[in-house]
Amino acid sequence: MALCQTSVLKVYHAVIEDVITNVRDAFLDEGVDEQVLQEMKQVWRNKLLASKAVELSPDSGDGSHPPPIVANNPKSHKAANAKAKKAAAATAVTSHQHIGGNSSMSSLVGLKSSAGMAAGSGIRNGLVPIKQEVNSQNPPPLHPTSAASMMQKQQQAASSGQGSIPIVATLDPNRIMPVNITLPSPAGSASSESRVLTIQVPASALQENQLTQILTAHLISSIMSLPTTLASSVLQQHVNAALSSANHQKTLAAAKQLDGALDSSDEDESEESDDNIDNDDDDDLDKDDDEDAEHEDAAEEEPLNSEDDVTDEDSAEMFDTDNVIVCQYDKITRSRNKWKFYLKDGIMNMRGKDYVFQKSNGDAEW
């Protein structure tokens, strides 16, 4: 089946190029930038590579990543170290994340404190291999698992498509943190100096990886042409608006329906009749419903990757992936219980790998 697999690479490359070439005019007609077309191509190829169905060698294209965002924690070494010793969650492991693929949608947020604590962020696209180093300034990790086993677990999680497990510094969620965003110099500009924008965000936004969703490639590219001060204020406004709407949605989701407790009803005061007894039963049912709703909310608020949600099993074992052939038929015949198949132009997915064929003949008994 080696021929089938080598054909796959060539065919998939050819199809991608053909699609990109032929939709270019449609993109221009709709006023969509050429860069978006290239981004689509890059994301498509990255996803194809991530699927592991084919071993694609991704182009070293010039897809621009959004700049890294670094939050400075102005704490002294001693204070931070003391806090790290007190809090069991504090860790001396620094998380270095590398973006898989070349997608310009991917964004990376790192929270660096002078004590060497770091909050890594999940990355929207691609798998994220994680390297971890123990910082010599700090005591070893206080987690029950060792740094090595922790690293192994995180790499397993990343390879099974769950993304990275962020390592979050223990900070007051309401504390306002300065975040420096380094913008590369625009392509057309004469000066090659990069600019630094500073915005203020609550620590909770860093801990919950909200910035990765807010600071998209589209947003960053739109402010790159603005002067530094204006760019900072525009970015600050955008982040504030996004965070406030996110918080508003959270509070709406957490809000409970509490009306009805202070209501007065004539029926309640009257003598008990069959109707009233029925109503009481209904009230009991309503209470049960409310309790169920509370339990559901509690379940929803439980974070992903917590306890029973995390699995070390390979996803292929959990989901019995079908071997599928998608093709066209020239002829399918049956004689008594013997069937003959004459197929063509097929794409097969066998054990997670893709194969292609021009012709495929086969037989089976029913």
């Binding site: 080696a2 994301v43 599928v324 093709c327 066209q328 038929y329 197929l343 794409i347 021009q358 012709k359």
Partner: protein, 106 residues
């Protein structure tokens, strides 16, 4: 001939995911994504017809189920042995979805 059945392959699914992301980010419209998918249908059909030369034979121990509806065969085979020249691949079960190779638009 531009069948849409190849959209449900690795290449087709990854394209659809990519387009969904671009739509979510407001970088393209659903209408433009639809045009891209139509072009994908043409390109994949053409590529399979023109560029692929591999020939495979297979022998199934059992045809488990079959369905023929709207000129589409859906077959479930068990204990299948695929052979390409001297290479053999054996699998427990295979699902085949096949459209009519002689008809026009799907």
């Amino acid at each position: 001939m531009s069948y849409q059945l190849y959209r449900n392959t690795t290449l087709g699914n990854t394209l659809q995911e990519s387009l969904d992301e671009l739509i979510q980010y407001g970088q393209i419209t659903p209408g433009l994504a639809f045009k891209v998918l139509l072009q994908f249908d043409k390109s994949i059909n053409n590529a399979l017809n023109q560029r692929v030369k591999a020939r495979v034979t297979f022998k199934a121990g059992k045809l488990n189920t079959y369905r023929f509806c709207d000129n589409v065969w859906t077959l479930m085979l068990n204990d299948v042995e695929f052979r390409e020249v001297h290479e053999i691949v054996k699998v427990d079960k295979v699902k085949i979805v096949a459209c009519d190779g002689k008809s026009g638009e799907f």
